[in-house]
Symmetry: C2
Subunit: 286 residues, 2 copies
């Protein structure tokens, strides 16, 4: 019995620009709702599209009008969305009165816990990787001494990083290094020690550069190096051989095994490269 209202005239006069008052309107437009609830207009459009929250009214011009009841629903949506539920779950909770809300929440909590766990592992992996890139080696100084022996200098990784830290090879080395523990490093140290012994024995035995035995040793060095540090081409190996002879620290290492071993090693590497069609005097790193 409200004679002043004619329900057939559907067009609803909305007080829009007069004031951000809202109180006398039959419904709020998307912009007003957006401001109230802190969601974007596009989100409201989206929720309307997928049927999650459609406005009860439209103006004659097609403007969405959200009633108080719509706002209630929107508010519930915002609440559930804020705790990370997917829109389908939210819709189920809001529309299906038999929905097991605490159950859904608990399931969500379990999922969140799982994701936190995965992220934590990921973070730990990142820590290892960062350490590997910066320190080159994920071992304590004591472990390093135990594995690499007394002539090991713990500053070497840092120096190597200083010199080569921006090369692709260092990156690859670091990536591998991140996955290595003491056991793996022990295996590498053993392989290198074996190779060093074999080199010394071969020089003693009078193996000559270019001989099959020498070339086999060169290949073995390339394989050990490749599996220990980074893929080594024959060209790169030549450069390495020159450095072993020229660098005092490396030369001291090899000459410490046998007098003259550094030079002999360089010579068998050169000869091995030549056997593969490479001129060792023009070989370049890369």
């Amino acid at each position: 019995m409200k004679p002043s209202e004619s329900p057939h005239r559907a067009s609803v006069a909305v007080t829009m620009r007069s004031m951000p008052d809202d109180t006398d309107a039959d419904g709020l437009t998307v912009g007003q709702v957006s401001a109230r609830l802190g969601v974007t207009v596009r989100a409201l459009h989206h929720w309307d599209e997928i049927g999650l929250a459609r406005p009860s009214l439209r103006t004659a011009a097609g403007y969405r009008l959200y009633t108080a009841g719509d706002l209630e629903r929107l508010h519930r949506i915002v609440v559930y969305r804020e705790i990370g539920l997917g829109l389908d779950r939210v819709q189920a909770i809001l529309d299906d009165s038999t929905a097991d809300v605490p159950g859904a929440l608990r399931a969500q909590r379990a999922q969140v816990a799982e994701r936190i766990d995965r992220l934590r592992q990921l973070s730990a992996g990142l820590d290892r990787m960062i350490d590997a890139h910066e320190r080159g080696l994920l071992l304590t100084v004591e472990q390093q001494a135990a594995i690499f022996g007394p002539q090991w200098n713990p500053d070497w990784p840092a120096q190597a990083r200083q010199r080569y830290g921006d090369t692709t090879q260092w990156q690859q080395y670091a990536e591998r290094s991140a996955a290595r523990g003491p056991e793996e490093w022990q295996a590498i140290a053993d392989a290198i020690a074996d190779l060093d012994r074999a080199l010394g024995d071969a020089m003693d035995a009078g193996v000559t550069p270019g001989s099959p035995e020498a070339n086999q040793l060169v290949e073995r060095h390339r394989e050990v190096f490749t599996s220990s540090y980074f893929p080594l081409t024959r060209q790169m190996q030549v450069c390495l051989g020159r450095m072993f002879e020229a660098d005092p620290a490396f030369a001291a290492h090899y000459d410490g095994i046998r007098a003259g071993l550094a030079t002999w090693f360089r010579r068998i590497i050169d000869a091995g490269a030549r056997a593969h069609g490479i001129d060792p005097d023009t070989a370049t790193w890369q």
Copy 2:
């Protein structure tokens, strides 16, 4: 100088089904790489599409063939992807030799930490929400006693949940409840106490059902209830009034304020509903 090879014959014979041997092939097919690296074939296709990892070779039939070098790159991709980097970042790290890898990793770690934080907050919100749904009230028994007074029974929320836990109204109540602390509940308790006092005073003053003063009190009750628990329609309010009179606990509460207040309250609610065109004798919840 390799006369046995004719580089113009591009077609590469791949040993595919004979054995999962792979050792003699010039390259591995997607399936073989997939098995080796633990990534899907589709991912390899995708990485090829976006130019992240294209195979160096193709057979005459168009099969992708990944060489040893390709495998190196793929392995690096897998490593960086496993620690959560986006493919664009991975590509930058692999292709841009000037890329600041440790920097990128540290940035990623910071992002991960942030996401963990957000998830933790989310989990805490879920805990609150679950508690609110199951206990109805996020207060300790002591807090409840302090806020709601000595006649409060801490078992009431649990009983209410038993009876109404699967209604929309309980869900809405729980959602609100999750955001309420002691202060908010104190405000609610104060508002209810004020209303109770006003009811008692009005009955003392001889206010009659249907009078403007009575109807105003009824509206005030509906507002307080709506803002405290969940939206209350006039129909629902009528049902509530009946329950206040019939339920011994509620009746005791109101009659404890003034003898006969429960009945009087029911009568002013009925009259108020009638003033809005509702027949209180046929009113239904919902």
